[in-house]
Symmetry: C2
Subunit: 314 residues, 2 copies
Amino acid sequence: MYQIGVDIGGTNIKIGLVDDQLNIVRRSSIPFPHLDGAAVAAQIAAECRRLTEAQGCGMEAVDSVGVIVPGSIDPTGAVVLNAYNLGFHNVPLRAQLQEAFGGTPVFLANDADGAGLAELGRGAFVGCQTAVLFTLGTGVGGGLILGGKMFSGGKKQGVELGHMPLVAGGEACTCGNKGCIEAYCSATAIARDGVRAMEAHPDSLLAARAGGDPKAVDAKLVIDCAKEGDPAAKAVFDAFIDHLGSACIAMIHLLDPEVIAIGGGVCGAGEFLFEPLRKNVDAKCFFSDHAKIVPAVMGNDAGMIGAAMLSRNA
Amino acid sequence: MYQIGVDIGGTNIKIGLVDDQLNIVRRSSIPFPHLDGAAVAAQIAAECRRLTEAQGCGMEAVDSVGVIVPGSIDPTGAVVLNAYNLGFHNVPLRAQLQEAFGGTPVFLANDADGAGLAELGRGAFVGCQTAVLFTLGTGVGGGLILGGKMFSGGKKQGVELGHMPLVAGGEACTCGNKGCIEAYCSATAIARDGVRAMEAHPDSLLAARAGGDPKAVDAKLVIDCAKEGDPAAKAVFDAFIDHLGSACIAMIHLLDPEVIAIGGGVCGAGEFLFEPLRKNVDAKCFFSDHAKIVPAVMGNDAGMIGAAMLSRNA
């Protein structure tokens, strides 16, 4: 039997037909139609039928459909509470999908949870009982594996690890609080500090590369300039590593996980990031033996694979 | 059948004979002898025999003995790695106790874990699947309930929630890091900030009560003066509440627990503490519905009851 994993994003809906070894045997992508939940559900179901027909098996070879969305889900796993990029607010998407799919059971989850589940199935968390995923992007998302399963919060309201205080009272966060992990460890935070560094050091490589334009400063530029030895950019990068190390320490001292995986575009920096990060964590850690800190490996397929795994996690 | 719970402290060893409803039906206390592990184990076993004889049942009515110590335990639950107050370092205490107790199975755990377990058995966490205990004292300890059981870390190295970064880079902590929860939320932290407030405000009620003597400033004095409206003490207390609220938010946004319980002497402040703490957490929380924040209820018997529960948690 196959499972179908559907990764709904604000631009595209990615659909994968996934086998028992978690390989995507056939895939498809359709534009996100910006319609209501029922219409979106109908388009997804139609595309899934085409996909299984192309595979020569039909929907009767699919025993479950998992769908992830970039937003918050209600504790029963039925309603998308808020998915801003989709324009979905209090949308009963599971019922709408179930209607569109007929008898095949449908599961719904948050994209960060799906990413953690994909790492558990085929990535950095294989065999783990306790693991933490940080996804560093515009914000900081993540997933938690506890007891060898995806954990969606004790009251099933989700895991918001980007909004744990890291420097309580510090930098303003998009959530309205001050000093969240997201306000220090996101790509957005690196860019913010890069702009400040450029303004404080107009003669820096960073300032030259950006042509003095704050809009030209993003996390990649800061990291590239740090790699080339620019002191202004390096100071921003070092502060980022120190904060990310503290975020890892929060997880280690609380949960003592086997693995911490870090994903998102910033990880393109590779060992330039991971080597100083591991040193930073070693220096702060209590335990003689602590979590391995590794890159997340599932990349763009994480959503489809995690979604396809929702039935087995349930 | 009964279980015996033993709470080893640097001053006394408390022993309770505990029934299936987790009532302590008979109790005893002996001075901690400051001897080696084997000698301490022998004294504990001898006192347990006296206790069961006094109950008229003998050790054959006891199906397990649980022992908690104020220190770190190795991942197998056999060796006390470091218990500074006991002078125990790498002491194979479980084997020594097992030798002294003969056939009755012996379990060993950290005191913070025992306290969390006691709340689960008979206190603030009854019926919970996910819960967090903060114990505020000289340091900040705590326990974690996950999946309805005591959680001792993914790699069984313990839960060190007092050493999660809260204001990364902030106040020095005893552990060598900067800005741990312990450095902001312990009774010691309140006293430290009380001394600073007294020195900055020599005309304050706090300064008058302490007679200008830093040694006279402890958490209780700061809280008492805050209650009486002293602005200097109130500012210290308000900052403490804000930090403790942020520590609660870290737990809520990560684990979304059903209950957060707060124990330790500081909680003697009662609603003077809990009412502003709940308001602080409400204001910072993402979720429409979040963990109840309540006082820990097990008090001085927590150690014995938690210890007696170790066999059923295993």
